[in-house]
Subunit: 364 residues, 2 copies
């Protein structure tokens, strides 16, 4: 039915009407006092959301752009990095790192399984010469619905002492309790079309003092993604280049809504929706792709054994106006993914499950 | 007065209500057939706007990001480039080129004056070894309101035969008749918050076959700004990374409006508004910063000799709710700039001039 689509994919996520309307306001000049006041509010609220005193920088990029900034600003060609790879995004960060001439060692796990923290421990402990400059981890692997054990991996990075920890938190930020300062995470990248509840177009990078120190000697060439001018501008509630003004209006509204709900409530809601989704999918007799103990709070992957996943997706889309995500790369047709990230309530999950049950009956 | 602001700066430019409302629609999945159809329409209409058969690529970046993509995709560290520098943006492209290890020779003119095509001819003719790999030109220098003589400079580039011509058309595209194919322009970069009549957040790069050939041997590292994946995705009406979906809804609406108006009419309107602005400013006894024969069709810089430019701007903003742009860098306080780019009509110019007259009276 026209304009009746319900988004249950892991991004873009549904956008509250209040946010859409804020975004539809006429733009104002980005060098004006009025806009500077908005940037000031955003910077404060972004620190609140990130649970950090670190600078959180806002860029006009997708999540991939934010991760690129998070990598190239703190490293030089030839630097050794450990990259966790258990899905499409981990794989992307390994590829990206190689493009910039980094010496990449991958620690892999099969798609649908979590990274093994022990493998990181072994590599980091063996590195007595402290050659490993950074460990790059995807916290919530969107392609499979696996939440990697960032806390334990981070402990091993901290024991190493030298390496930075660079985190793709694109589908965990605003869904999973991620205490950046408490854990001492050096670089945390995220994107707007996820837990932030706004459309795509903004990328965020939170940067620790240790990472800024590494910045001083990092030599990869950069200009648009050079984070130092963003930091300098942030201090003046400004931006180095023209920012996506209307998306920042949207961000202002969404961060206000998130503050009204409260971090604890947001995290509890995502946890509850994840549990609800998993319970209901199991009750329908469908196998879950990722184990319970490493379930992402953003997205649940389902691996139907009796049906083609694309046939289920297609009926859900055409008959029930619900968009689910498909499997990526070799998982296409094998899994479908239910997003429960951002502006999502229990009702949404029940709705999707009811439609899924009807779809399964229909497909026989 | 609250919410009464009228934007007459050279970006962001005013956004039509039809475009704002299109942007406020709920996002849809960027991998859906519905969104693919939108990308297809956008690609066709972007080619129409650019007057080219070349691929026009859409990135989630500001204009600076689009220019960076336009430079780093086609060059390698150590390559020689000629960069025209007669304002803040020309200066930025020279700085950016150096950041990426290019051998930059600047051809400069004083701010407010146009680049001298003869200087380009001399350098290009002297380069018998064909070491110059690219000439980088800002078409409309937003900081001063000067339109550089791209056609003549381009003739000299074509006579050289080897060098690419890379054009910052950020405030000329959609305002000045720019026949990309007829002129054989290799790389043309632009940004959404200008002639496109939509908010900032999208950058565009039009790329010629000759530039794609240069791409094959260019070695600067790149990932998010690597244009080959964008080209590949374009052919399938897709995008390599999550695109700014709602800004693309806005672009769809604005390009439809532009097609309804017609290119000839759009260019004629910008020329007429430029002439009107200049005539009226002169009639008020205020000196224009750039000469008539190189006037940008996007923005007119005024250099008041009896008043502080910032005082004029401040009264215009506070009493008449009209935002003008100030001077940048050493021109701060010396000039103000009236934007007449994008969704602008004769009425807007008359309004600004009436308020400017009242402001001058007030300031004595």
């Amino acid at each position: 039915m026209q304009d009746k689509l319900m988004l249950m994919i892991p991004g873009p996520t549904p956008v509250p009407e209040r946010v859409l309307l804020a975004m539809a306001a006429h733009p104002i000049g980005h060098r004006s006092g009025d806009f500077s006041a908005i940037i000031g509010e955003l910077n404060d609220n972004l620190k609140w959301l990130h649970q950090t005193k670190n600078e959180v920088l806002t860029l006009c990029v997708s999540g991939t752009g934010a991760m690129e900034a998070g990598i190239i600003n703190f490293l030089s060609a030839g630097d050794s990095v450990l990259v966790g790879n258990n899905g499409k995004f981990g794989d992307r960060w390994a590829k990206m790192s190689r493009k910039f001439g980094l010496e990449v060692e991958e620690i892999s796990a099969e798609w649908g399984h979590p990274l093994d923290p022990e493998a990181f421990r072994a590599k980091l402990e063996a590195d007595t010469e402290k050659k490993i400059k950074a460990v790059i981890i995807t916290h919530s692997e969107t392609s499979t619905g696996v939440l990697n054990d960032l806390e334990t991996i981070n402990k091993h990075v901290k024991a190493h002492g030298e390496a930075l920890i660079i985190v793709d938190a694109v589908t965990s930020l605003g869904a999973v309790d991620l205490k950046i300062d408490e854990l001492g995470l050096d670089v945390v990248a995220s994107g707007s079309q996820k837990g932030y509840m706004i459309p795509p177009g903004l990328g965020f990078v939170a940067v620790s003092d240790k990472a800024w120190k590494a910045y001083e000697t990092a030599t990869l060439p950069k200009f648009y993604l050079d984070l130092a001018p963003y930091k300098k501008a942030n201090a003046k509630n400004s931006s180095p280049f023209t920012p996506p003004i209307n998306l920042m209006f949207a961000l202002q509204a969404s961060l206000q809504m998130m503050k009204e709900e409260g971090l604890e409530n947001i995290f509890a809601r995502h946890k509850r929706l994840t549990q609800l989704t998993r319970d209901k999918v199991k009750a329908l007799g469908l196998p879950l792709f990722a184990p319970d103990d490493c379930a992402s709070y953003a997205v649940t992957a389902v691996a139907p054994d009796k049906h083609d996943a694309e046939a289920i997706r297609s009926t859900m889309r055409k008959k029930y106006d619900i968009a689910l995500a498909g499997g990526q790369d070799h998982l296409k047709g094998k899994i479908f993914r239910i997003g429960h990230l951002g502006f999502m309530s229990d009702r949404d999950v029940l709705t999707a499950i009811a439609a899924l049950e009807a779809t399964l009956k229909e497909l026989g």
